[in-house]
């Protein structure tokens, strides 16, 4: 198992080694030591490998990930797993702003709390947060699923499109055009699957409420001017 120590190896070398990995290579387990809050760790990977990062990372860890499983044994800074395409990013600690921003696929699991703008402009990613999320989360969320076991901050789902939001705790307030929606069987099944895939047990889908778009801002109407 290659272990890369970022206190002695330049970041560029780590990322280039990870980019050089092709389909079917033997080095499928990687370890990264001493990240010390560095930015852009393990970004742009496109290979079915797993990378364990021992310690806290800075901005954009796992950015634009494809196929890989990236686990951060620590906290992550802004924009973790931003624009992820596929694969999985797991953060054992807390994450900063913009977690999973514009993500298109794959799964982001945050075992701690997420700060503001979690899932901003998400476009297909599944995000599961075991703790709570901050304000303006799922702003302009287009599609995908956001599951929150704790509470959601102010203005959840502002200007949301078709993403589905599931929150188990309290929602401080809903953003423009975001409303609570009926939890139907299909949603319970979906939630069951998301919880199972993120390794969460002892939590029932029925404990969540579902939120989504009222679709009133989809076409311009001057009488909605307060929302624009």
């Amino acid at each position: 198992m290659p272990a890369i120590d970022l206190s002695t190896t330049p970041l560029r070398e780590l990322n280039q080694s990870l980019h050089a990995l092709a389909e079917g290579n033997n080095e499928t387990e990687w370890e990264v030591l001493n990240p010390d809050g560095r930015h852009a760790v393990a970004v742009g990977i496109d290979a079915p490998v797993s990378i364990d990062i021992r310690g806290p990372v800075g901005y954009y860890c796992g950015g634009m990930n494809k196929q890989a499983t990236v686990t951060v044994h620590g906290s992550a800074g802004p924009g973790v797993a931003e624009n992820m395409m596929s694969g999985k990013v797991v953060i054992k600690g807390d994450v900063s702003q913009y977690a999973g921003a514009t993500g298109r696929g794959g799964m982001l699991v945050v075992e701690g709390n997420a700060a503001s703008r979690c899932g901003i402009s998400m476009k297909g990613i599944d995000i599961v947060v075991k703790g709570s999320i901050g304000h303006m989360s799922a702003f302009m969320a287009q599609t995908g699923n956001l599951v929150v076991l704790g509470d959601a901050g102010d203005a959840l789902g502002d200007s949301i499109y078709e993403a589905r939001l599931f929150v188990r705790g309290n929602v401080q307030s809903l953003g423009a055009d975001c409303v609570e929606k009926e939890m139907r069987d299909e949603h319970l099944e979906l939630l069951e699957d998301l919880l199972q895939r993120s390794g969460i047990t002892g939590v029932k889908p029925s404990e969540f409420r579902r939120y989504g778009s009222a679709r009133k801002l989809y076409n311009f109407n001057i009488d909605n001017a307060d929302a624009y």
Binding site: D36, G37, R38, H39, P56, G58, Y59, S75, G77, P78, D94, S96, Q97, N113, A115, S116, G134, H135, G153, D154
Partner: protein, 298 residues
Amino acid sequence: MCGIVGLFLKNEALEPQLGALTSAMLATMCERGPDSAGFAVYGQSLDGEAKITLQSSSPEIDFPALAKALENEITGTVKLTQRATHAVLTCRRDELDTIRAAVRRLAPSVRVMGVGEAIEIYKEVGYPTAVAERFELKGMKGTHAIGHTRMATESAVTTLGAHPFSTGPDQCLVHNGSLSNHNNLRRSLAHDGIQLETQNDSEVAAAYLTWRMKQGLDLGQALEKSLDDLDGFFTFVVGTKNGFGVLRDPIACKPAVLAETDDYVAFGSEYRALVGLPGIDTAKVWEPEPATVYFWER
């Protein structure tokens, strides 16, 4: 646009390490603000004594001679500690105003960076690590410190444009963000007799807080008020003789991380700034909520 670090010690045993810890934190924020850097250090205050931090833009300034000349103006003594372009004078508190007036008269080109019982302020143009080294931040002791690295947005890269800005006795403010109504505010402050030295938006924020406190508000209340009156994006960290405060604007885009243990409260624009602190792995770490005043006092 900038990097901010701050460290407020709760455990006295750490006080000898304040400068070393702050210096390491500041070094991680160089890329966020490569143009200039500065820091305020709150040391032990002695009964009846006051400190005044001076800065000279001309390298040939003879601070010892100035200190001598100042002593002739008062009955007490003036103690001088010089660090590169800065000097800290210590005098009797009741003679502070006399000293300030005399500095203005005897050395008009010398600027007063800050005054108070505990505060010392150092700031300069240059790469943050070089600035910290020039002033020997590593060796400084004290109870709390606030540091700043600056990427200038619209105002000049000068020593005066560097942070922290002193907001009054023992007070200082650093800022990351960009205020969008500082010109109008500057005009109303000027109307009320508050003079600003730079075109810097952060100085307006500092002066605004001073102005509010002159009206009788305490720092916490002044910060609350600023949420109504300041427009734009900001994260502020402020220091007082005994206190340490943090405030983010209601949109809260500019990054901010707080950490607290039994030994300290620490602030960083990024978690990277906090990585080297003792016990950070078990600290409570969180991001300050928008439009919420955080304040610690000993």
